[in-house]
Subunit: 341 residues, 4 copies
């Protein structure tokens, strides 16, 4: 059975497993104080080009968003997100669970348009009743977005400026950051992101790790007590080594980027195949996620041989499905998919 | 200086003050256990035509919404609201503060259209990823809405049926309920509302009281421990008598409805005046709130003589303002306004 | 029926009611922006002897504690309280509801002893695992305490110094502050309190008002966005005038202190009577609350003629009851009680 | 460098790593829907002797306690714990963060004594003001406790009966459950626990896994929507396989119990050594944790060669330290420790 359901359907990159095995019986301090965590943090700072960055390793994406957002904003503040943003749509209200409103702005292909943000802020700050409303305390974007799209350097620069002008930090959810950076369709680098955003998280779960997301406060701006906040959110791993070792391996010799590249190559070929075979795209993407509109009947048939992800209904007879490649997708997988379509 | 800024700009109906004075030195038990609270609760149940109702008296509207919603739904559930709903727009994120998402649906003149609700629920329950999303646990509507509009009996019946079909209770925010019931443009009665909704709150603050909102669980459906929840939300008044006496007076001999009628009469005349003088309406309303689009220059001038409420900007040169009548608006007030316009 | 159940069993001081009646039809802006609120705030600042104070008027005590505490401390911090503190024992977990731990310290007659606080902080800050524990972000004391006892000036000064040394603000719950300040057994003045504490609330509900508590940030230290926090907690009254007028009256010509004195006089006489008649005191107090241990049989008998408050069981056959005087207690009331005992 | 600091200082049991490697490239559904999770759940149910149990796999202990407790109790309820309970002392206020009070009861050697629980409940339910207090909605115990002690079958049965009598579920935190069950000093079996408790969690992190805790609702009593609650708490792992595989291995052929036995043997020998060499025990334990009082000077010296955990200060010159064995402790480790002491 072929699997293009998602980018978290297999385990970890073999180098990670190998290192886990090698270091397994080394006694190490807990809670992220071990040398592998330290090394991982140093390498991530270097990849970001930020000496003054502070790095924390958490376990999962929803957890990371919840912990970061609720620690960074004041109790009366909320976080701005595209309505399609993961925190708004698919995290079971995790941000609200910590007491904060997600202030949603209509998306454009999964993105917050700079003009839409500027307009929202301008309306908010000119509203005479704004003290009765949730104050925006953070802007959340995902890159790649939930639709597999990417911000251009221009757009990212604009969002960054607007945020700075209003004294509101910019937070980038990089659950699939590697796939964004390695896409042929981007002009944005890791260092651009670290320079333009106040906080980012670099996704491990979907890019080669068993689990793990690296939060980067890009300029010494981690909130006071953040370690305790991580504990308070149930996000502190006793065996922090599990995260440290994984990120240490991923950020050694550019492995993170190299394996991301593999997913992009596979996806590019898949896009070609879908296009050639006349499939209808729900949205144009340049990363590892491809959204295809299928007749329900056709979908049922395909499901016998290949798994892929439900996205949303598209009228009564058709459905949008997601086909995802990953760091682990092989040429054979893509060939087999081609044969099926 | 004339005041049409809002419907909470003066104190209480004189009968309320009189009763407060008369009973002032009577020693009474605290926290709502006094005889005036009891009497108020009985009268409200009667007005609702529901023997099996349970009534609680709280202090303010945001507080009431926050306390009711967070006590009724499970920790993983959210509340559906029109995007313009008070809980979504103007309560400073009070519902989210208690850990629950407000799931917003695009409004039509401030209302949730039955079809929009049905569609939202149908999409939600057919979404294969719905367990990763906030489950809808309550439907919130306001009547009158924040735009001064009203549900028809048909619409209310439809919403009620849709809710029942999905096992989701229907909650009606009646901050201005009196004005809705006494409007010439309604076919909905108090008893209809109590029959069709699972929970309602009958607003006192904006309809003759100094403060106070009466929550009605219409069929013995108050959540377990609700008294403690009220305390836990900081919503329990030590001198519960302040609320009991006010609602007891308001629901004696139909005072609540009689004074609501006064606001409607005043508003109807104001609408006539605005129309006659060629003012532009932002939206058509049938209750005590009137939304007028004014040139900013004109508005500045008028503000010297009459106060009215900012609603929202309308392009660069114009602004929407709210003119509200209330239970206390006099013919003289309206005449004076007419002279100014 | 005599009533010594509590200090919130009757309405408001007559001057308050009179002012409410006089100003009733004056149109005023809402949400605390009216001139009576302004005047009240100015008078309270003056009574505190603090030009740089910031004053906010809220409705009830639990609400005030909840709103203040959760707005002042960071999300990972808790509040230190005596285990008998109102926030720890009798507010239905309202502080925890906002996400913060109440860190309880064993009390001595309802008070936090300076040495106990010093020890707690010293143990906490020398604990190598403290980052896994709730960080203390505020110290909460009540004055008078829940047991009717008072801090001496020495004790208050010590607590204040310890707090300053650790960079932790000191918050005083003055639900019955007037009764504390007018007690014959105190050497603490209003200005001492305002000088030594970072935040205080001056109770209105139990000292002459229908409702209302005045929060004082004594040195311009109100947290950013506090107005919005008040709204977010459901603690913002639309008709802020109800609070403004009451506090304006209470702080005109020292009325607050004068009526507090009345409660103390009554309580002093009651203590004499209980003592003379051989009743057993549960604890020695110098304010308006008196705790008496009664045989259950005796208590049942007395309850036919006078109401008083359950405090706690005292073995199987006896119970501790609270007898409270208030600003409204008359000589006749005390005489009648004497006759009954 | 020897390490007796804790029981989470090395990686995972080799069989776990081996299985992770073997299954690594198998595509599997996410979020716990894979066959290894299913198999793990079945084996755990069997080990519990409960066909009607429901099992969920979470990542860490604090997270598990937070998610379970906040999902099981109502919004106005709190959880009873010994004051030394992990949730009360060392989880950074994670339970309070979700809005619930931890109601602490004085411990006896880390345990809640049945009589203490009975007394607390009896006082609570006879308190006339109990509706102003946090209602107890759950009883939390840890087994082994934070002090390495164990409940007897008698004690556990009593607690279970008291809980049933009051309609309050009993929740057992088994972060080190294996070490408790394999101790020579226990008369309690896995099946006893599953029979007497309503909810338990079986710790993986400290007993052979890299991470992972298995929550067991012992009689089909998982709260509605619990999967979504797990997601909402950021506790849902995308690659659920990481947890499924680990628990599947641990519960195959009794591995969990076998490796737990190893820790107990090591600890028993360590206790002998300490005793023989005249070290002072802070508390008598029968599981894998040993608490020793050391002169600070002695401790500094030892720290050069062996790591062990700070527990608490013991006067000015001495400190309590924890020495822990684990599933991975070897005879050589213990011999080396013996040589050092």
């Amino acid at each position: 059975m072929l699997s293009f359901e998602c980018d978290y359907n297999v385990g970890a990159h073999e180098k990670i497993l190998q290192k886990l095995v090698e270091t397994n019986l080394e006694p190490l301090p807990g809670y992220g104080a071990d040398k592998y965590c330290e090394s991982a943090r140093a390498k991530i700072k270097e990849a970001c080009g930020r000496d003054d960055a502070e790095v924390f390793l958490l376990v999962g994406g929803t957890q990371t968003n919840q912990t970061v957002i609720s620690s960074v904003i004041a109790s009366y503040e909320g976080v701005i997100s595209a309505d399609t943003g993961h925190i708004n749509a698919h995290e079971a209200g995790a941000v609200e669970y910590t007491g904060h409103k997600v202030i949603s702005i209509p998306h454009k292909y999964g993105k917050i348009e700079p003009d839409a943000l500027k307009k929202y802020l301008s309306v908010f700050f000119s509203d005479e009743n704004r003290e009765h409303m949730t104050a925006p305390g953070l802007v959340y974007i995902s890159h790649p977005t939930e639709y597999g799209t990417l911000y251009t350097l221009d757009e990212l620069t604009s969002l960054s400026c607007i945020c700075k002008d209003h004294g509101i930090p910019l937070y980038l959810d990089g659950a699939r950051l590697g796939y964004g950076l390695m896409s042929g369709g981007t002009d944005v680098t890791m260092k651009d992101i670290a320079r333009l955003c106040d906080i980012i998280y670099i996704g491990g779960t979907k890019v080669g790790a068993l689990c793990g997301e690296a939060v980067v406060f890009t300029h010494g701006n981690a909130p006071k007590g953040f370690f305790t906040s991580v504990k308070q959110h149930g996000a502190l791993l006793a065996k922090g080594r599990l995260l440290g070792i994984q990120f240490d391996v991923l950020f050694t010799d550019g492995l993170y980027f190299e394996i991301s590249k593999n997913a992009i190559k596979a996806a590019d070929r898949m896009r070609e195949i879908f296009r050639k075979k006349g499939y209808e795209f729900f949205i144009e993407t340049v990363t590892n996620q491809i959204f295809i509109i299928l007749e329900n009947k056709k979908a049922e048939e395909l499901k016998k041989y290949v798994s892929f992800g439900f996205w949303e209904k598209y009228g009564d007879d058709r459905t949008v499905y997601r086909f995802a490649s990953s760091w682990a997708t092989t040429e054979e997988d893509v060939n087999a998919l081609e044969a099926l379509l």
